[in-house]
């Protein structure tokens, strides 16, 4: 996926101007948010679970090299192949090589954000392969030639009618408003692909180092098709997505469906320990695990390591008042919402996503929603303090801050400054004590809101100490 994260502000304006889109996004984000709240209301020990899950993830990041080696060793011992990719390009190249070596023509895919990140589909297509997304949402997105707008619900921005039209145009299905009928059409289309596919490519929700298990948490059953029907299964994971033990996994697997979709439990939790073993009746003949770095180890060694705790549940998107209004596409890359505003600049480079850290009112709803308690507002504010971001603010901004600082450090200047501001803004004072049509930085505010003029007498001028 080609990043256009630079264009957040114009892209957000487009989303805000489109009433249908705006309604779809809002409803799409609110639904899982409210459902998650319902699940929590009937779940005891929410905070205990969150603490356990966070501790499991923190422990995993602390011992990451060791855990990844154990994962590799365990998988190798059961006949899997493990490949390491330093960046997106290497990941795509390695995966394509594996496909070409098996003379693959048709590749079916399960949901995988990391392959969206590397742009794998386009890479394989350029190498002459047919690539079919099999997660229903991703399938729709692929048919439409779009990109996902949500980590969990990629098609959140599309209405049922738009999907019906798409299915009729691309699959020859008569126009229908029955979702079940559309699903049946997708299913029969995909079933044939599953049976013919040479390679299945899946993501990995989490890997468990102690036994070398790859865990997939899914709802649609396509994940099992992708990982068992084709002769070769290639699993792709970001290198941070490992935990030490099954005990560590337990709390996360309990949390994930609750916060992601508002389900108490997901339909499937698939655990893959290797290719088909001797004497086993089914499963792929080969399993290849591709572990992708692509900027993650640099994050691990930075002030933003906490962002790697993320389990890609999408809860921060649903909770975010900014995401609720502009949707995922405005963020311009694979990861939208608060987590995207943190990791897109880190993965792409700060200059490629200069506005994303500002795309938050710092309300903290994301922090409350995060199942592993990532302090997203703290990281957004930290990113704003990075030198390239401050330069982006411009020299006027820096100068303004210097003036502000000088005034705030000198109470007498502050007092005088208040009176001076009141006097100097007089031409703009409205009858109701508000400022109208003030030029400069206030104009962006004044487009939609009034601004009060400084009070005739400040609090410190009115204050007389306690009554006697």
């Amino acid at each position: 996926m080609k990043p256009v994260a630079k264009d957040f502000i114009p892209a957000s304006r487009i989303a805000l101007a489109d009433d249908h889109l705006r309604k779809a996004i809002f409803a799409g984000a609110m639904r899982p948010y409210l459902q998650a709240a319902e699940r929590w209301a009937e779940t005891s020990g929410r905070e205990r679970l969150r603490t356990q899950a966070r501790e499991a993830r923190v422990r995993a990041l602390r011992k990451l090299p060791e855990l990844l080696e154990r994962l590799e060793k365990n998988l190798l011992s059961r006949g899997a192949k493990v490949l390491w990719a330093a960046d997106a390009e290497e990941a795509n190249r390695l995966i394509a090589q594996e496909c070409v070596a098996r003379d693959a023509r048709l590749v079916v895919k399960g949901k995988s954000m990391v392959t969206e990140e590397t742009g794998l589909n386009q890479h394989l297509e350029r190498a002459g392969m047919e690539v079919v997304e099999s997660d229903l949402g991703e399938f729709i997105i692929q048919l439409a030639g779009e990109t996902p707008s949500h980590i969990i619900a990629p098609v959140l921005h599309k209405s049922k009618d738009a999907i019906a039209k798409l299915f009729s145009e691309r699959l020859g299905l008569p126009l229908t408003d029955d979702p079940a009928e559309m699903m049946r059409a997708a299913r029969s289309y995909l079933r044939e692909k599953f049976l013919r596919a040479d390679v299945g490519i899946s993501g990995v929700n989490l890997a468990v180092a102690e036994t070398g298990g790859l865990v997939l948490v899914t709802n649609e059953g396509n994940g099992r098709m992708v990982t068992t029907l084709p002769r070769t299964h290639i699993a792709v994971m970001g290198l941070e997505r490992v935990v030490e033990s099954w005990k560590d996994l337990a709390s996360i697997v309990q949390l994930l469906p609750r916060v992601a979709t508002g389900q108490s439990v997901s339909t499937y939790v698939s655990i893959i320990h290797g290719p088909r073993q001797q004497g086993e009746p089914d499963g792929p003949e080969e399993l290849v695990l591709v572990i992708v770095d692509n900027g993650r180890s640099a994050i691990l060694n930075s002030d933003y390591a906490e962002s790697l705790l993320c389990i890609r549940c999408g809860a921060c998107l649903n909770a975010c008042p900014v995401y609720r209004r502009v949707g995922g596409h405005a963020y311009g890359w694979v990861y939208p919402g608060p987590i995207g505003s943190v990791i897109s600049p880190l993965l792409l480079g700060l200059a490629e996503a200069p506005d994303l850290p500002m795309a938050s009112s710092l309300c903290g709803a994301c922090r409350d929603a995060c199942p592993v308690k990532i302090d997203l507002p703290e990281m957004l504010v930290r990113l704003r303090a990075e030198p390239p971001m401050r330069r982006k603010g411009g020299r006027m901004m820096s100068l303004g801050m210097k003036m502000w600082r000088y005034v705030m450090l000198h109470p007498s200047v502050y007092r005088w400054g208040l009176a001076a501001t009141r006097f100097l803004t007089r031409p703009w004072h409205g009858e109701d004590g508000s400022l109208r049509g003030l030029p400069g930085p206030a104009s962006a505010w004044l487009e939609s809101r009034d601004l009060p003029a400084p009070a005739p007498r400040s609090f410190r001028a009115l204050y007389r100490g306690p009554e006697r």
């Binding site: 009112s361 210097k402 206030a442």
Partner: protein, 244 residues
């Protein structure tokens, strides 16, 4: 009861734009017989610069804040946002400066107005009374609620006001869209959030909206006035001061 007078941290918005909020708070403290003082060297806690990414400037102003209040036994402010900042961010920001230790101490002695009255003074019922019944929506500021844990205290104070009824409104926990620099860097998104908040407040049919932060108040009143609505947001300190 505190031995030394409680220090009022007016906050820059209240001091410069909304002095009546500060006076309301003073009235409540007076009625409770709590001696107070206004340390003259205070200006701002530095949060605006911190949130905008200007940490050096925030640090300099934060150090001055600590020095202005260093001798105070308790500090009370009519803003959950400023209090949350002083508690959870300032000590960390001042790590490595001579004021770090004092900042840690201040963090434990700084209270938001309703929190101070309810949790420190243990005066959940101020005996306040309204002359005519009033239906009220309480908008909790995000920083107060999520970073300061201030949600229960204003509700308790308001529930004990005779003649006041609290009304629910839709998505009351959602941000009003201010967010400091966010509101001028991304005015369209900020405005969309504000308009939704205003619509929910209007739909609740209340007579007045109360909040504990002058920031939210400035934002929402700015939007309400611009759109020509008569509904207004007030700070609960001001209303409580009047109802005593």
């Amino acid at each position: 009861m505190p031995e030394k007078p409680v220090a009022i941290f007016a906050t820059c918005l209240v001091d410069s734009l909304y002095p009546d909020i500060g006076m309301g708070m003073v009235r409540v403290l007076d009625r409770l017989g709590i001696p107070h003082t206004l340390p003259p060297a205070q200006t701002c806690c530095g949060q605006p610069a911190f949130n905008a990414g200007f940490r050096d400037d925030a640090r300099a102003v934060g150090r001055a804040f600590v020095r202005a209040f260093r001798d105070c036994e308790a500090i009370v402010a009519p803003s959950g946002s400023c209090v949350a900042y002083v508690r959870s961010h300032l000590p960390h920001l001042l790590d490595g400066t001579p004021e770090h230790g004092e900042a840690l101490g201040l963090a434990e002695r700084t209270w938001e107005f309703s929190e101070y009255v309810v949790d420190v003074l243990h005066k959940p019922d101020l005996g306040a009374r309204l002359e005519s019944p009033l239906r009220v929506a309480l908008h909790n500021g995000c920083h107060a609620m999520r970073f300061g844990g201030i949600e229960r205290q204003p509700r308790i104070l308001l529930e004990n006001v005779r003649g006041l009824t609290l009304a629910d409104f839709e998505r009351s926990e959602e941000c009003c869209g201010l967010g400091g620099l966010f509101s001028v860097k991304m005015p369209q998104i900020s405005t969309a959030m504000m308009e939704d908040k205003i619509a929910a407040l209007l739909a609740s049919g209340v007579d007045v909206v109360l909040t504990g932060d002058a920031g939210c108040l400035m934002h929402l009143n700015g939007g309400l006035a611009r759109a020509g609505h008569s509904l207004r947001v007030r700070h609960y300190a001001e209303l409580l001061g009047e109802a005593l």
